[in-house]
């Protein structure tokens, strides 16, 4: 038998547990008007539902298990990353090895692929590496250039190798790598960061980085894997943006001649500053600026970084954009009929050695025809 019948007041209990607005007024007034029920009200207010708890030991144990699961995953993950990286390295090596064979078929092999020349007599079609002391090294073929920790240079074109020991200049003075339309290059910076430089791009960088920060300047498109180093932040500057990195992989498209530019983040975290605006990017996000409108959206990163592996990948990309990229890549002007410029394309396009093969692929998959007119390609509706 309950010592106080009021403790069984079901409507009060119900209100305590599931307060509905219409009951609030009534019971709030009741509590005010009945101070002698104070004890009962206190007791009924202490009713809780489903208060089952884990013991502190159980909580600790579960948390320890979670941490173990995470460690296990991190180990597997490190292993996986290692595998992908070595796979990529193999592909790159293969291309380098096969290149001389292709060249041999089409033209007389050059005896010296690497020409050391003055800036004045440079062929605009060649890749140029302008050193800090204004000495220029040119490459007729796509080059892989490496700066070691001391600023020494090794360059490889797959045909020949060149070595330049450290220049007697100020360590932090700038080098310039100019990759013309139709050419590609990759570059390892003194800190070990790796940059893939796409056609029609210019990259400025020091032989060795300053003590406090690492900084490079880009006009064009690069894909970069930045070496992690928390004490030396990495900055990528373009004419419109500054991208601040701790250690990450991302793609920057910022050709000075284009009004649109973008940053795509593959891994890690970067801060992008445009004038006074600042944005933080997370993996699989793209920041793009078009006619001064800044937007951040989720994207499939492969669509933006596949060029460094020798193919382009698209998801509903307008034909005109694809042709623009090809034009830059092969250094051939392409005109596109406005009726098909907005045609949305999906899929992969292998970047063959010559543009003819690429145009054939497009011709076979979407309803277009193309023709050569002088040094241009015209694309029309079929």
């Amino acid at each position: 038998m309950l010592s106080n019948q009021w403790l069984q007041n079901k409507s009060f209990i119900q209100w305590r547990l599931f307060p509905s607005e219409e009951d609030n007024l009534y019971w709030e007034k009741f509590i005010q008007d009945n101070p002698h029920f104070q004890n009962e009200i206190r007791i009924l207010k202490s009713i809780k539902l489903n208060t089952q708890k884990l013991s502190p030991e159980e909580k600790q144990e579960i948390f320890a298990f979670i941490q173990k699961d995470i460690e296990k995953r991190d180990k597997q993950r490190r292993f996986r990353i290692y595998l992908t990286v070595s796979a990529v390295a193999c592909i790159a090596l293969l291309l380098v090895l096969l290149q001389p064979l292709f060249i041999g078929k089409n033209e007389i092999p050059h005896e010296n692929m690497l020409v050391v020349a003055d800036t004045t007599s440079v062929n605009q079609k060649d890749i140029q590496l302008v050193l800090a002391n204004n000495r220029t090294i040119t490459f007729e073929e796509d080059a892989d250039i490496k700066y070691d920790k001391k600023g020494g240079i090794t360059a490889n074109t797959g045909v020949e190798q060149i070595k330049v020991s450290k220049e007697a200049t100020k360590e932090t003075s700038l080098n310039t790598l100019i990759v013309p339309k139709g050419k590609r290059s990759s570059l390892t910076l003194a800190d070990g960061s790796k940059v893939w430089v796409n056609s029609g791009s210019t990259l400025k960088f020091p032989s060795t980085f300053k003590a406090d920060k690492r900084e490079i300047w880009v006009d064009g498109e690069i894909y970069i894997e930045v070496e992690k180093n928390k004490t030396h932040p990495f900055y990528v500057n373009t004419s419109h943006m500054v991208i601040n990195v701790v250690g990450t992989q991302f793609n920057v498209t910022a050709y000075d001649e284009d009004t649109d530019y973008s940053v795509v983040l593959v891994e890690g975290c970067v801060d992008v500053s445009i004038d006074k605006e600042k944005a933080r990017l997370l993996p699989n996000q793209m920041l793009s600026v078009s006619t001064d409108q800044i937007s951040v959206k989720k994207i499939d990163v492969n669509n933006y970084i596949s060029w460094k592996e020798g193919y382009l990948q698209f998801t509903s990309e307008p034909l005109s954009n694809i042709l623009k990229r090809l034009s830059r890549y092969y250094d051939t002007p392409i005109d596109c009929d406005s009726s098909i410029a907005q045609l949305k394309c999906n899929g992969k396009l292998v970047l063959f050695d010559n543009i003819e093969d690429v145009m054939k692929t497009i011709y076979n998959t979407i309803p277009i025809k193309y023709s050569h007119e002088a040094d241009r390609i015209l694309v029309r509706k079929k």
Partner: protein, 184 residues
């Protein structure tokens, strides 16, 4: 009452966690592990099964950071992850039957926490409350529990019950009306 403070804390915790702060992860765990456990008990799961499910939930929470980008209500998100995990466990142990989320039971155990009350009185009140709740269906019990005890939004309760928000409102108002009618 620190309810408002708790809500304000969550976005900060989540942000720090996404930035890689492991202390934020253990704070989130310690903050919600009891509520998740109680919810799982309500759904009628064994203590050990539930402990495994909680472990899986937090592991998935840690490793799928990408999915957390748009999350606005941390507590609801964890409830949802746990329920999905529990439902998978339930399904794999009931292979022969075609089952639905709405098949899960829902139990509510009342307890009077006030320490000055006599044990006998305490037991009487708890029985009374059980009788009061007996007239509700499992889904009504789960809905009022999530809405009033866990203070989730109607929309969130609806997602957990695989119903629409208006349907949940109706379900809850019927439950309250039923209890009230029974009382008089």
């Amino acid at each position: 009452m620190s309810k408002i403070g708790e809500h304000e804390e969550d976005p900060i915790l989540l942000f720090s966690f996404l930035k890689g702060d492991n202390n934020a992860f253990s704070s989130i765990y310690n903050k919600y592990v009891d509520e998740l456990f109680a919810y799982g008990m309500g759904l009628g799961f064994e203590r050990e099964t539930l402990k495994d499910a909680i472990q899986d939930t937090f592991f998935k929470f840690y490793t799928n950071k990408k999915q957390l980008e748009g999350v606005t209500h941390l507590k609801y998100y964890l409830f949802r992850m746990l329920k999905n995990r529990l439902f998978d466990i339930y399904k794999s142990s009931n292979k022969e039957n075609i089952i639905d989320v709405t098949d899960l039971p829902f139990l509510i155990e009342p307890s009077v926490l006030d320490e000055l009350i006599a044990n006998e009185d305490k037991a009487t009140i708890e029985t009374e409350i059980k009788n009061l709740l007996k007239i509700l269906t499992d889904r009504q019990k789960e809905a009022v529990y999530l809405r009033f005890i866990q203070e989730l939004e109607y929309e969130e309760v609806a997602n957990l019950l695989d119903m629409t928000a208006p349907a949940v409102r109706k379900l809850i108002s019927r439950a309250i009306k039923r209890m009230r009618d029974e009382n008089f």
